[in-house]
Amino acid sequence: MERYWLVAASFCFLLSFGHTLFALGSGTFRPARFNLAAMAGGFVFESIFLYQRGQIVQTCPITNLFEVLVFLSWSIVLIYLLVGPAYRLSLMGAFTSPLVLALLMLALLAPVDIVTPRGAHNPWIEFHAALSIIAYGAFGLACIAGIMYLVQERQLKSGRVSELLLNLPPITDLGAINGRLLFTGFLLLTVAFVAGLAAGIAVAGIKAGVSFAIWTLYGTLLAMDRMRLLPTRRIAGGSIAIFIIALVTLPSVSHLAAP
């Protein structure tokens, strides 16, 4: 029954994406509250779902891949709602909505909602798992900022002034936002790892290996950004590539709350 909330959330994200595409196509896109309202509506529905799931499983609802996908989608929207209005990134909603919509569709359509036996309730483990996924939410939005950067760069290099170029934020701002989101995600993921260590979680080899590899990749990318060792377009490309790797390897680390 609680899945209907996810359908409603999907509808909101679809509405946000469709409205922006139509407005850009007809040349009447204006930075407006519609995107923000649609994204906020989707966020509320996802929150209701997660609350109800939490009541059912009696723990943070990240006990299987289905719940992890929903929680990740919720985290990306949460970070967007925090970052988007602050930087007047109205169009970021249009780039974010297809990603969160795809995550929700995957969660709803793939047979991944499998009841997983739980160990003893440990708040440290739940904190570690929830914070890790919120960190991935920040990385997801860094990936979106990276895509926006590359799109804007292509527009500027090509010498064409399109509706997209006029409405995307300045390329310098996109590079800076990408860097800040990488930093935020890396910080959250590091705290989550420390919490995991504090909880004394005994983690399976592949899960630990993949998690550490992702953390190292993001750490290296962040360091290169801070030390200006790579041009911004490469940092943007790196944000996209590492997030895709993280998504592909998600099933192996999906039982984050499980040892």
Partner: protein, 339 residues
Amino acid sequence: MTILCAGINHHIAPVDVRERFAVANHEIADVLHNVRRIEGLHEAVIVSTCNRVEFYAASICPELTLDGLRGYLETRTGLEAPLYHHDTPSSVRHLFRVASGLDSMVLGETEILGQVKQAYAVAAGAGATSGTLNRLFQNAFRVAKSVRTETQITRGATSVGSVAVELAGKIFGDLDHRRVMVLGAGETSERVARSLVSRGVKTVIVSNRTFDRAAQLAGEIGGMAIHFDHWQNEFPDVDILISSTAAPHPLVTRERLEPMMRQRSGRPLFIIDLAVPRDVEPAVNRLDGVFLYDIDSLQDIARRSLAVRQSEIEHCERIIDRNVTDFVGWLRRRQHAVL
């Protein structure tokens, strides 16, 4: 009650005539006071900009009011006033078109809306408006907003200078702390530099083969002149380069720029090459963080924007026609109610 519009604008009068009829801001209250004595005139607003001087009046006897207005202007300027005039409903349509930027020299420009708002505020403040013109101008502001948001009439930039400013904004965002270098003080580069200064750029370095010309331009736009032999020393700190020298070979090549870009800590470089033959090698655009535009690409962007704006005129006119009908209907109902 008839709404009368009478005036002169850039379509019918050159600047040397328009300037004689212009009403300065500090004179408007006095002029309003005088024109309100004209027979039949109940309400008045004066819109005076560099491209137009227009009187909007609510009058019960438009012919007498128009004659009175002509007489007043002839007395004031000593010239016969070559006025055009419109009565309801074409005066209403005219105001809606003016406020929407459809009657402007640069189609779709938005500055005029602010000027019309200012003119109305002054007239309202002087007690020169009442029910009819209040409603008319409020409607004009609403129509202008609809035209702006529902069509692409304000889309893009339509001159080389404004295209350069728009692109600079899309690269850097805020231009306040950006450094601009003008290499070759030609007419177009001067216009582009002035456009950038008007958008907040504070540091402009001018270099020209003739130092006196560089010093003159730098003085005019509040910049700093340097000798042409030294421009490469200042170049690494520059964010925007406007180049228009008469050099027969490229001054900026990929080989020269590549090591400089590595020293810039990831700061982008916007190059506006206005020279023919070009001063900057096209391969430079392939470097990370370099955005190169030549005169053709800037003019092409301006032309496309103008074409988009022109294609939107019909759409704008439909919005205006609909609102003119609504307003004239309101005016008639109001007059019936009074009778």
